[in-house]
Structure formats: C-alpha cells, structure tokens
C-alpha cells in the first residue's frame, strides 16, 4: 500500500507564528463544542459495551487520496472505505493477529478452490443491497474489476493473473474472459493462469469491492458510488471534510457477525493539516480521534501524563528500509551493500524517528507469523570501512534519494553522514513526495540508494517478497523493486511459495528462509518497524477500541463512556 501521507507544509505556511499559535491554542483549549451525544444504542456489534455515538468526529490528516474504491491506495483512504465498500471476502473485525483471518463478506462463504488451484468459485449472499436500494449482482463484481482497468487503478497489478485480464488491460474492450458470473444464482467463477496463494487476500482488497456495473469509469470520490457496508459516504469535500452516515439498506444479520453494524450513527472526518492543531482539537473535544496524525514528539510526554487512558500505541505491519540499486555502481557490489548494512546503527535511527519504533534487519515485520528474527548485520563501523576498502569504491560519489515529507528526511540525513563516514562521497537528493515514488521507480532515474517504506496491502508474505523483491516483476516504470534485486534462487522460491494455497508452519518456515536469503544478498538495509499512536477524547470508551492488523483503528466499533 502507498505510504502514509503526512505532508502538512501548506497549512503550516505561517511558519513564524507557529509558536504563537500553539500558545494561543493551549491557552484557549477546552472550549470546543462537543460533538458526541448519547443516544439510544442501536449497536449489535461485539463491542457495544458503551453508548453509541450520534456523531463520531475524526481529526484526520491530508493523506486521503480518493474515496473511490477503484482508485484509493493509501492507509487513510482504505481506513475510511473498509466500512463502506465491502469486498466479497474481508477480514475479521478484531484486534491482534486474528484480524488477518479472511472471512466471507458479500460472498456466502469462502471460495471453493479447484484442485489445481486455478479456479475460485464464490456465491453472492442473497438479499444484499447497495445503499440506493438496488440489489448487488454477481455481474457487478466483474464490472468492478473491468472498471479498475478502465480507471487505471493502481490495483490492477493484483488481478494480472486472472485469465484474460492482461489482454483486457491492453485493449479495455470486450470483457475479462476469466471471470464468469450468473446473476440469477449469484455464482462468480474466477479462473487464474497460475495458482496464487494470496488470491483470497487480493479478493479482500478494496479494489475488488463491488460497485454497481453502471458506475462511471472515472473518479467517483466526490459523487460516491452506492455502498454495501454499514456506512455510506454522504459527502466528501477534498482536503476539508468527509461525512459518513448509516447505510439505510445495510442488514448486519446477513453477514453472520463478520461485518459490524457500526456504533456511531454518523462519522465526520475533519481534514486537519497540522499535527499540533489536530491534537489540540482532540484534547479540547472538537474531534474524538486523532486520525493518522502522529503526536508531536515534544507533546507526547505531556499527553501521556495527562491522558494516559486515552492513548494507545500500536505497531502496524511496516518496514522502513534503504534500497540499494543492485544494477548501479557501487551497489552492484555485494560488499558495498553489506558495508551499508553494517554501518547503520539502527538504534540511532530509532531515536531519529522519535523513539517510537523497533530496530530491524530483515524484510518481514515482527507481526507476521513467518517472521523469524535474524541479526545478520550488527553495527560494526570498522567492518563497514574495511568492506568499502575491499570493494575499491572509496571516494565514489553516491546520491541518496528521499522525499520531503514527515520524519523520513531525517533518515537520509543520517544515512548520508554514515556513507561519508565509511569513505563514500554522499549527497542527498530530496524530491517532492508527490513524484518521489514514480521517480525512484523509473529505471531511467538510476537511483543509487534511497529511502523506502512499506505498509502491507494485505497480510501475506507475497505482498512483501513478490511485490518488492521478485526480480521477475521488475518494470521499466512504476517499479516497486527499487533495488532491482533479481536473484534466481529467491525468485524461484517466491514463485514456488506463491502456489502454496495455505500458510501452514512449513510454508511459514520457508518464507522465513527467503527473508534470510534476501538479507544475505543485502539489496536493502532495513532499519526499523515504526510504531504509531491513537489518541482519543476523554469521552471515548476504549474498552471498545479495536486496532486491525491492516486497516488500523476500527471506527465502526468505537463507543462512548
């Protein structure tokens, strides 16, 4: 999934008055109109310990890209939509690792998979309607995938294994032959070119969430398509506000407890650019949840002290790393890549990120069952210098790439200093975040080394190794394998594991082995898994708090004291 967007410079343009504004805000706190009122609880969700919200207000950041399930590819966008547009399959609305369990949403049950692993058959639940009252049809699913191609969805890469999808992507005419549907029975059959172990996860992405076949093939963010989930988007003013209300045609009883009815009657997302302002709004009760904003480091301690019960720390599945382009000197030399790994002091980078992170030296995050901790590159500056000398690249110019948002530029400031200290001649190249990923993902750029992070699209090791490190998936543009890592042994292992239908202990051990093998080749210098905070206004009852492994805070289950 796309990286968290935390750019806020436009709203902090009045830079020289920040201090004054903060003081003023702090002095004037507490006067906000409280948006939550008690109402008769209509909740039937599992966590309806407290009262439901009439209006649950969220101070969100500017990261929401689209509110069109075919186009959105950010944590923020999906965070809004996972209770709005239901896919055929989805994830359990629970805390912890169990949240990675796939359950049927719009489908009656989990798919029947053919013995060769190439055909998936699902049946649509009966009686499911869109928010406008029209019934959901099996053919809508096919139309949705085809619409993804028509709108140039960033998710079309997930469907490339469906028979006929690649051809449809080229012509955008006709239909995808590998998807057949029957509206009268609700049966959907999907044929794949190759077995694919993560295909159920792909069916659970927002890109596969059905919208009516008549939905125009253009961005529908501000004219939202009818929803299937407990909520529908009433209005969306980009960079200002999102308003969700209950879907009048949603019937939670159809889903056997897999989809919550939703505690708040209405959810209002106020887009706030500045972290301090957003925090102040939550402290004063103007908003109930500090959505996706980090608490500014110098206010964390006081927030923890004053509101210890309203603060939650969580670790989503993510890995922050420096990629090293194995096709470009000096990083086409294994010794140089290993030297960088030895030279980085991960503990230092944890502090550079404010301390809310865990150091790592591997690809998979610790939240994965396949994770097996390895320590291949303990900090050793002398060894790093020795490897650089052995590689004969001392004094070679190196450009360190990064974008300009959030705390991430600090990481490359650190890396640049480290590279200079081991004998390379490093300079930074900071690019606007809006174009950074396409720039470093373009082979013409020949980016030598740079910053990257990854937040899972779905909880499966393929989302890490196949998307980011499979040499067979290297592309000329929009390349996710920034290191251009192409190792025959690793590729074959990924391809073999891709066909595994189940992630059992044996498969998990094999994935752990791939992790180790990749790091032996050091195409990355992974350095940390970041932690984040959720902060709530004092009236929010956190006994209802649920943080999902993929979608993070679940606003549909939250309740009031």
């Amino acid at each position: 999934m796309n990286r968290r967007n935390r750019w806020k410079w436009l709203l902090t343009a009045a830079s020289f008055s920040v201090g004054v504004a903060l003081i003023a805000a702090a002095c004037g706190g507490g006067g906000g109109n409280k948006s939550t009122t008690t109402s008769g609880s209509t909740s039937t969700s599992s966590s309806a310990a407290g009262k439901s919200f009439a209006v649950f207000r969220i101070a969100t950041d500017t990261g929401t890209d689209y509110l069109d399930p075919g186009l959105s590819y950010t944590v923020e966008g999906w965070g809004v939509m996972w209770n709005v547009y239901l896919p055929l399959l989805g994830y359990k609305h629970v805390n912890g690792p169990d949240g990675a369990t796939i359950v049927p949403y719009l489908a009656e049950s989990l798919p029947t998979v053919s013995s060769d692993g190439k055909a998936y058959t699902l049946t649509l639940r009966k009686g499911v309607k869109y928010s406008d009252g029209t019934p959901v049809k099996a053919s809508d699913f096919k139309a949705t995938i085809e619409r993804d191609y028509k709108v140039d969805s960033p998710g079309v890469g997930f469907f490339g294994n469906i028979v006929g999808a690649a051809q449809y992507g080229k012509t955008k005419t006709g239909s995808i032959s590998g998807i057949t549907t029957n509206d009268s029975t609700g049966v959907i059959t999907i044929k794949l070119s190759e077995p694919q172990g993560d295909f159920m996860n792909i069916l659970a992405t927002e890109f596969a969430a059905p919208v009516p076949a008549s939905t125009p093939a253009k961005d529908q963010s501000t004219t939202p398509a009818p929803s299937t989930g407990p909520y529908m988007i009433q209005s969306y003013t980009p960079n200002k506000q999102i308003v969700e209300v209950r879907n009048p045609n949603f019937d939670a009883s159809l889903y056997g407890g897999n989809v919550p009815v939703g505690n708040p009657d209405k959810v209002v997302w106020d887009v706030i650019g500045d972290d301090n302002v957003a925090l102040q709004r939550v402290i004063s009760g103007q908003d109930d949840w500090l959505g996706y904003h980090p608490i500014p480091p110098d206010r964390l301690s006081s927030v923890q002290q004053k509101y210890p019960d309203q603060l939650k720390l969580f670790t989503p599945a993510n890995t922050y790393y420096f990629f090293m382009n194995t096709r470009v000197a000096p990083f086409n030399n294994l010794k140089v890549r290993q030297a960088v790994n030895y030279a980085i002091d991960r503990e230092a980078l944890v502090r550079v990120y404010g301390g809310l992170a865990q150091p790592t030296e591997q690809v998979l995050p610790p939240t994965y069952p396949q994770y097996k901790k390895i320590d291949p590159y303990p900090y050793n500056l002398a060894k790093a210098k020795q490897l650089i000398a052995q590689a004969g690249v001392k004094g070679m110019p190196v450009t360190v790439w990064n974008h300009d948002r959030g705390l991430d530029p600090r990481a490359t400031a650190y890396l640049t200093d480290v590279l200079n200290s081991i004998g390379l001649k490093a300079t930074q190249k900071i690019v606007n975040a809006a174009v950074y990923w396409t720039t470093v993902g373009n082979q013409a750029t020949k980016a030598q080394i740079g910053f990257a992070d990854w937040f899972q699209d779905y909880p499966h090791p393929l989302d890490w190794f196949d998307v980011l490190l499979n040499g067979e998936r290297i592309t000329q543009t929009h390349n996710n394998n920034y290191a251009n890592f192409d190792d025959a042994s690793v590729n074959s292992q990924i391809d073999a594991l891709k066909k595994e239908p189940v992630l059992d202990n044996k498969a998990n051990a094999r994935w752990a082995s791939v992790d180790k093998e990749v790091m032996a080749q050091a195409p990355w210098a992974p350095f940390l898994n970041r932690q984040f905070t959720d902060f709530f206004y004092s009236t929010v009852d956190l006994s209802c708090y649920e943080n999902h492994v993929l979608y993070e805070f679940d606003y549909s289950t939250i309740c009031m004291k």
Binding site: G19, L22, Q304, R351, V352, D417, I430
Partner: protein
C-alpha cells in the same frame, strides 16, 4: 556649505603671505556622494546596525573555525547515540524514546509496570557548560544547532546577497532599456514586469523552486543540479526583478527628458553611452538603497521558501530549514527555531535600518522602498 580649506597663519613680515591671506577663500565643490557620506556618518543608529550586520557576517564566515575548534563537529555530523558532559554529568544528545522506566530511565520491554511513553528529545542549549559542544542544543539528528546556525547563516547570506546582485543587475538593464528606447521595448518589458506582479512572490517562488528542485535547471547553457544552492538563489532573484525594475524605469523615464540627456544625444552619444554613462550614475543612489533593502527581503524570502521545502535543500543548513526542523519541538526545544529566527530578525533589521539611513543620506526626499 563651503568652508575654508586651511587656516592661514598671519605674519606681518611677509607681504606676499598677507596678500594671499586676504584673498577670498577658494570654494571647493562637494560631490553628492561626499554630502551623503556626511549625512550618513551623523546617523549613529544606522552605523550601529551596520556594525551589527558586519558582526553577523563575520561570525558566519568564521563558522568553520567555530565548528573545528569550539564545537568539534561539522554542520551535518549526526551524534545521535553520543553523550555529552554537561556540568560534569553525562547527558545523551538524543534521549531514548518509547516506554521508559521513569526511575531508571531505561527502556521497558512493554507498556506495563509503570513505564511511561516518551519520545526521543534532543539535548537543549548547554550554554558553554558542555565544553563548547551543543551550545544551542541539538536537533533531531543530533546535529549541533549552533554550528548549523553559523553555516546556515553563510547559506542565507549567500542566497540573500548573490540573489540581490543578480536581481538588481537585470532590473537595472531592463529599466534602462525600457525607459530609454520606449515603444515596443518598453511595452514588452513592462508587460513582463506586470506578469510577475500578478503573482504573489511567495507563491511564484514556491512554484519555481519546487519545479526546479526535482530535476534542476538545464537550459540556456546553465547546468544546475537539483539541490544546488543556486536554484533558490536564481529563483529569488528572478521573481523580484520587477519590484526593482519598475520603480527604476520610472526614474529613468523622468531623467530621459532632462536637458543633459538631450545634450548628450545631440552631441552624438551612443545609446549605450547615454544609458550607462549619463543615466546610470544618476540612478546609482536609488540602486544602492534598493540593493541594501532587497538583501534583507531576499533573506526572508529564502527562509520562507526553505521552510516550505522549495528553497535550500537538506542537509544543507539555512536559517529557513532550521526553523522548519525545529517546529516539531517548539514546546520543549524552542531554541531550535528561535535561534535561526532571531538570526533572521537581527540580520534583516540591521539591513533595513542601515538601508533606511542610507536612503536618507543619499536623498532625504526619496521614497525608495521594496514592496510586494
């Protein structure tokens, strides 16, 4: 007013000397520059602020000396995990973050057992109690703020002064050509000025700075890499040309009609000579005042653009980037932003007050000021 050049000693026995002494005193001409200097040197406030500005410049020029012999670090050197001795006590440059045991100060494995969630915070100002290290504290990368302040000053002053030179140079040329030739030349140049006037300077600066920050500038024989300090320098000089060029054009238009210009043309002076020998010296005082004032203006503009990410690129220190770096720690480590902010205030104030004094000295009736 003319005054006697020398006092003659009166002696009765020298008739020639007596005669010479009785002759009317010679009246010596005083150039406008001399008169201006006499007016300026009586303006002690302007001189005080000139001295202050020179002090800032000298301090910034001595940044490498301070870095090497006092702070013992470079402007981009990270000291994240190091400790510094402050008043005999070892203090981490960046405190550890995460769940910390409030009694031992060590990391806790979990959030339980009374541990507190804290963020890593850099050390505050040591005010020379740390042996010259981290006098103004450290930033989030463990870099010495005082060292970066001085290096940042070099950057900001370089951008401010060089962009002013470039801006004034082109503004003068365009003003002279537009006003002297008139007609189509004047029309085209003034429309160019109008076009730039139509955009707020800061927005135009952001647009150009952001666009050039990606790929640099590779046109007209110029090959400037992205991240180069020349990008904000050229952007700032470019966007401000009309703000100098337009008032100068007005002055040249007025001078163009004077008799001495007509006489010069009648004597067969070339346009080049008229523009640069006759007209230019007559607007020199305005140019000098504009130049002084626009340096201050450009330092502020550089700081604003760098703060917004469209100016000087990290890790190069500039006062604008330092303010941006410090904004997240404005509550607990205000010096991160305050120090460069004060440096900007002192520099800009000193330049503005000196510029005002210079304007008053050169032409007390003039109303030269930079507005946008």
């Amino acid at each position: 007013m003319a005054e006697r050049a020398t006092e003659t000693e009166f002696t009765l026995d020298t008739a020639a000397e007596l005669a010479a002494a009785e002759e009317p005193a010679a009246i010596r001409g005083r150039s406008p520059w001399y008169l201006a200097w006499r007016r300026l040197r009586r303006n002690y406030v302007a001189f005080f602020f000139l001295a202050l500005f020179i002090l800032v410049v000298v301090a910034c020029l001595l940044a490498p000396v301070y870095a090497k012999h006092v702070a013992h670090t470079g402007p981009n050197t990270n000291h994240v995990l190091e400790n510094v001795e402050v008043n005999g006590k070892e203090t981490p440059v960046l405190s550890p973050g995460g769940y910390i045991d409030p009694h031992t100060g060590k990391l806790c494995p979990t959030s339980e057992s009374g541990c507190k969630l804290v963020a890593s915070i850099p050390i505050g100002p040591t005010w020379f109690s740390g042996g010259g290290k981290f006098v103004l504290g450290a930033d989030q990368n463990g870099r010495d703020v005082a060292v970066r302040l001085l290096y940042g000053g070099r950057t900001s002053l370089f951008v401010g002064i060089v962009s002013s030179l470039i801006c004034v140079f082109f503004a003068v040329i365009l003003a002279l050509v537009a006003a002297y030739y008139g007609g189509w030349s004047d029309f085209v140049i003034t429309r160019f000025f109008d076009l730039f006037y139509a955009f707020p300077v800061i927005l135009l600066g952001i647009a150009l700075g952001s666009a050039l920050a990606i790929n640099g500038f590779h046109h007209f024989g110029l090959n400037i890499q992205s991240g180069s300090i020349w990008i904000p320098t050229l952007v700032i000089s470019y966007v401000l040309i009309p703000y100098i060029g337009r008032p100068l054009r007005g002055q040249v238009l007025s001078l163009r009609e004077k008799e001495f210009i007509e006489a010069s043309i009648a004597q067969g002076a070339s346009p080049f000579r008229v523009m640069f020998v006759e007209l230019l010296p007559n607007i020199a005082s305005s140019i000098l005042v504009f130049f002084t004032l626009i340096i201050a203006n450009n330092i502020i503009l550089e700081a604003a653009l760098s703060f917004l990410g469209a100016g000087v690129q990290p890790p190069t220190a500039s006062w604008g980037t330092q303010i941006a770096d410090g904004q997240e720690l404005i509550v607990t480590r205000p010096w991160l932003s305050l120090a460069p902010g004060l440096a900007i205030v002192i520099t800009v104030l000193s330049l503005n007050i000196f510029g005002d004094g210079l304007r008053d000295a050169l032409d007390p009736r003039a109303k030269v000021k930079v507005e946008h």
